[in-house]
């Protein structure tokens, strides 16, 4: 599977955009500008990037509480994302969703999700809709290791396998369900073995190798478009930050973190690109500088944007009914 130089450059651009978006989210959260929770994707960029590079614009994804990377990789606009994190009216959800609930139906992004494992069933439903409508779309379902212990994982994989739904289940195994390590939350090492229960292909790959992710997901997507049903792809990866910002990560060692930082997917792709003379270090620096500027612009946009009019709090509960707003 030969990737063009443009595709490779584009992958680096996506990964760097995610990384710098997350750095900025981290910093704005630390300054108290962003309310609520943020769950950062730093360290896992290769999964979303490689997977979404295998998709078309009209394909769907479902995401998780750690969703910024998926949304950027599927074509989400960092300006509207940042504005949403800030709770502004110009945000993707007009300030109603925040970090954990960003969606963009026009890009096939069926939403980040605050309930661990909820995306599995929604992805099965998108697959059902695709099959019913008879298009050649697919849905990629992103989820973490811990969500594979939820009933939704079993229900969705069972339904998708028995109905041969065009869904690719992409597990981001970052080794932890919040503070509980994988070895403490399930009696398996490779989550892909669970594919055997559904008689579907299951594979475990290095989730920090964007090229491996791209190749594997491309194959799984072709399988799905070919009406052969779902695939379970487990991508082993690691989150450099805690579960959420503010997590003291007492449950893991610094040695473990440093080991994974050595396997950071971004320097790895940079090295590949320079060694294969696809990009020079200068070109990469130039790209990174432009991305930092784009993220800075997104922050400026978010800061300058107005907060939502309180009267809109009652909007968009239904397509038609609008209850009365509180009068003070």
């Amino acid at each position: 599977m030969k990737l063009s130089d443009d595709q490779l450059r584009s992958m680096l651009k996506t990964m760097l955009t995610i990384r710098h978006f997350e750095y900025e989210a981290q910093s704005q959260f630390a300054m108290g500008v962003i309310p609520g929770f943020v769950h950062l994707y730093i360290g896992e960029e290769a999964v979303a990037t490689g997977a979404c590079a295998a998709l078309n614009e009209d394909d769907y994804i479902t995401s998780t509480h750690r969703g910024h990377g998926h949304i950027i990789a599927k074509g989400g606009d960092v300006k509207y994302m940042m504005a949403e994190l800030f709770g502004k009216e110009t945000g993707y959800c007009k300030g109603k969703g925040g970090s954990m609930h960003i969606a963009d139906a026009s890009k096939g992004i069926l939403g980040a999700n605050g309930i661990v494992g909820a995306g599995h069933n929604i992805a099965a439903g998108a697959g059902l809709s695709i099959q019913y409508r008879g298009t050649d779309q697919v849905c990629v379902c992103f989820f973490g290791d811990a969500s594979t212990n939820q009933s939704t994982f079993h229900e969705a994989l069972n339904l998708a396998s028995v109905w041969k739904l065009p869904v690719v289940f992409v597990c981001e195994n970052n080794g932890y369900g919040i503070s509980v390590s994988q070895e403490r939350h399930q009696n398996i090492t490779d989550i892909s073995v669970r594919a055997q229960s559904y008689n579907i292909p299951g594979v475990t790959i290095d989730g920090n190798d964007v090229l491996a992710v791209y190749e594997t997901i491309t194959e799984a997507v072709a399988h799905a478009r070919d009406k052969k049903g779902p695939t379970l792809v487990e991508c082993k990866t690691y989150r450099h930050r805690g579960h959420f910002e503010g997590d003291a990560t007492v449950y893991r060692t610094d040695e473990e973190l440093q080991d994974w930082i050595k396997k950071d997917p971004i320097p790895r792709l940079k090295t590949y690109l320079t060694e294969n003379e696809i990009m020079t270090t200068e070109e990469i620096d130039e790209m990174e500088t432009a991305i930092k500027q784009e993220i800075a612009d997104a922050v400026a946009f978010a800061k300058e944007s107005p907060v939502a009019d309180p009267a809109t709090v009652v909007h968009d509960v239904y397509t038609d009914i609008v209850e009365e707003a509180r009068v003070r």
């Binding site: 993707y92 969703g97 939403g111 069933n121 059902l128 809709s129 409508r133 509960v317 397509t319």
Partner: protein
């Protein structure tokens, strides 16, 4: 006029929407060749085929969740859960996903889906197959809730539920499936949110929905023999509900008796009682009364079950208490 059972009307409504709109399809446990646990979809698999009347695994979470994902991506699913009680297994998908996605995502998605829930007791099905759980959904912003009391409304509300761009929970009372009703030759959609005066009267307003409309009409007949002319209001929709019709009736009669098959504690009708107290207080001549099931699980033995469930006599007694 012609005769149609409640179940036939639901089937006729589903079939009509599926003939009119290719994007509508039904799935659930045993809804296919088997025709549904209560025969509601009997024959539909023959007419519409495997893709449009589809048996699912026994997997209520993904039945509701797949309806959400499908509705978000361009089709209009009808998901049947075999018993209302099984809704609890799919509750995340209904309450955290279906009800909230449009709002959380800033209005960028619509979710035109119907979840059909066979509800209620009276058939000896005991605690896990007999519940009335309207209170679990009627207070959830983002969901619409309907509960027909007769065949014409069962048909008409089904049409409106499928046509609605929001998630609609459609309760249907199991004990009514085989009950025949007079229906007009040509039935129409019944708008969601509009109550119906099932019987006019001046002395007391009996406000209810679903199967208890039949109990209320029976009670009204008994009361008429004793000189009390009761009005029976059939809410038909629990959210949105027809506040104007309820308040107008209470203004006329000065008395309100609310009836539900739910366990009385925290029942949906408490919401109606509260609104009558807040907005219709000065039209009241007597306390607002509630008639519900006893606060127990639904028992198995027929005698125990009938003791637990409310009936026409309970309604008559409640009316007499304030007459």
């Amino acid at each position: 006029m012609t005769t149609m059972t409640y179940a036939e009307a639901i089937r006729a409504g589903m079939s009509q929407t599926m003939r009119d709109d290719d994007t509508v399809f039904l799935f659930g446990e045993d809804v296919g060749p088997f025709g549904g646990c209560f025969g509601v979809s009997a024959g539909m698999h023959d007419e519409f085929g495997e893709m449009r009347v589809r048996d699912t695994p026994i997997s209520e979470g993904v039945i509701v969740g797949a309806a959400v994902g499908a509705a978000a991506t361009g089709v209009r699913p009808i998901a049947e859960l075999m018993f209302t009680d099984f809704m609890t297994v799919g509750m995340d998908q209904l309450v955290n996903q279906a009800a909230k996605m449009r709002y959380m995502f800033g209005g960028h998605l619509k979710l035109p889906m119907v979840v059909r829930l066979p509800a209620g007791g009276g058939i000896g099905a005991a605690a896990q197959h007999s519940q009335s759980l309207e209170k679990w959904v009627a207070g959830i912003p983002g969901l619409k809730v309907v509960y027909p009391s007769n065949a014409e409304d069962a048909y008409g509300l089904l049409l409106s539920a499928v046509a609605d761009d929001n998630p609609v929970v459609y309760f249907e009372h199991k004990a009514m499936y085989g009950v025949p009703f007079e229906v007009p030759e040509k039935m129409e959609a019944v708008p969601i949110g509009k109550a119906r005066v099932a019987k006019e009267g001046e002395d007391v307003s009996i406000i209810t929905y679903g199967k208890q409309v039949l109990d209320a009409l029976e009670a009204a007949e008994t009361l008429a023999n004793e000189g009390v002319n009761a009005e029976v209001i059939d809410l038909r929709s629990l959210y949105p509900w027809d506040k104007e019709a309820v308040l107008a009736s209470v203004e006329k009669t000065g008395k309100a008796v609310l009836v539900s098959e739910e366990t009385k504690r925290g029942a949906y009708i408490a919401e109606i009682a509260s609104v009558i107290a807040e907005e219709g207080f000065y039209n009241l001549d007597a306390p607002v009364m509630r008639v519900g099931a006893l606060d127990t699980p639904v028992p198995f033995a027929p005698d125990l079950e009938q003791t637990m469930l409310p009936n026409a006599t309970d309604i008559v007694n409640a009316v007499k208490e304030i007459s």
